[in-house]
């Protein structure tokens, strides 16, 4: 039981640096919601039950443009398609966990918790991987909710010119470099990044999904090539 506890704490602790990105992002989501005309209660409610910042911002923008209800829903779902990939990567580590326990932690799955967790798993596997993930997911969720409430009331006072939202790409950069293990990983990153730049104009953030898929494909291809090379060298 003690080691179980330990991995939960470690997961939460390892996530602390990235919380500096979570706080402003959650506040930005609240501020954006209020700018669109939602009440503070609705802004907080959105962050509380949806808890997926990028899709929330996209929906708020569409809302301000008077978009169809169904289009807003579909847009958010497409932006959040990446969670299927996260879910698949996490699944083997949560296999032995009971559904009533892992379902709430699936509900609060975030980019940040996923990034921190998978980076740790590929470096040194905790004795209870599920608890490590739970700790990471929980601290992101709690921080997000507190920040969303704060943002709904105080966020309008933070000047947008400070550019605090820049914390996000910066924190993703560090996680990205940590996730690169070998040369095929470098290939995956370069292809995904370049495709994302080229396909930025695609509607509904589809470029993100396309770029990730092509990056994964390029990584696999590079892995096959290097496998064949090392096989030839062994002969």
């Amino acid at each position: 039981m003690k080691s179980v506890h330990h991995d939960f704490i470690t997961g939460a602790r390892d996530t602390i640096p990235i919380l500096f990105g979570v706080v402003p992002f959650a506040m930005i989501c609240s501020v954006a919601a209020i700018n669109v005309g939602l009440t503070p209660f609705e802004a907080i409610g959105m962050s509380f039950i949806v808890f997926a910042g990028a899709s929330q911002l996209a929906v708020l923008q569409l809302m301000s443009e008077g978009t169809l209800w169904l289009v807003m829903v579909l847009t958010a779902w497409v932006i959040n398609l990446r969670f299927i990939m996260y879910s698949a990567a996490l699944a083997p580590h949560l296999e032995k966990e009971a559904l009533p326990r892992k379902a709430p932690f699936a509900y609060i799955l975030s980019d940040q918790a996923f990034g921190v967790t998978m980076t740790r798993f590929s470096n040194a596997m905790p004795s209870k991987p599920a608890y490590y993930y739970y700790g990471s997911a929980a601290i992101v969720w709690i921080t997000w909710q507190i920040s969303a409430v704060t943002g709904a009331f105080l966020g309008t006072l933070i000047p947008q010119s400070w550019g605090f939202d820049f914390v996000f790409p910066l924190s993703f950069l560090a996680l990205m470099f940590a996730a690169i293990k070998d040369r095929p990983g470098v290939v995956a990153v370069l292809v995904a990044g370049l495709v994302a730049i080229i396909s930025k104009a695609l509607p509904f953030n589809l470029g993100l999904v396309l770029a990730a898929l092509l990056g994964i494909g390029a990584g696999l291809l590079a892995e096959n090539v290097s496998d064949k090379k090392s096989g030839a060298a062994a002969l």
Partner: protein, 109 residues
């Protein structure tokens, strides 16, 4: 939008997103994940993170900008060097944000 359709919108977003998040966490072990899916997963984190980061630096405000006036790109490159050397989020954010604010001040001056 009226209050009811706003809350229905939130619920629809939350439910759909929850199903995406739960998908394989629920299915794993019930439906055998095909063997060919295991290898690609190794590249998922790096690829998705790259797809989030690159356009955020090259498209500040949603428009492609590869000029020296793009301080997101310049500060991001500085942050990338720190990220590469340290693989540490806090250092990357600290150096990247400091660079960003310095460049912002220079650009304004």
């Amino acid at each position: 939008m009226n209050t009811l359709s706003i809350w229905l919108l939130f619920i629809a977003l939350a439910l759909g997103t929850f199903l995406l998040r739960l998908s394989f966490i629920y299915l794993f072990g019930k439906v055998d994940m095909p063997a060919w899916m295991g290898r690609p997963l190794r590249f998922v984190p790096a690829s998705v993170l790259a797809a989030l980061v690159f356009p955020a630096l090259t498209h500040p405000g949603g428009v492609l900008d590869l000029s020296l006036g793009n301080i997101h790109l310049l500060a991001g490159l500085g942050g990338a060097i720190v990220a590469w050397k340290t693989r540490n989020v806090l250092w990357t954010v600290a150096v990247g944000m400091t660079l960003f604010w310095i460049l912002q001040a220079i650009l304004k001056a």
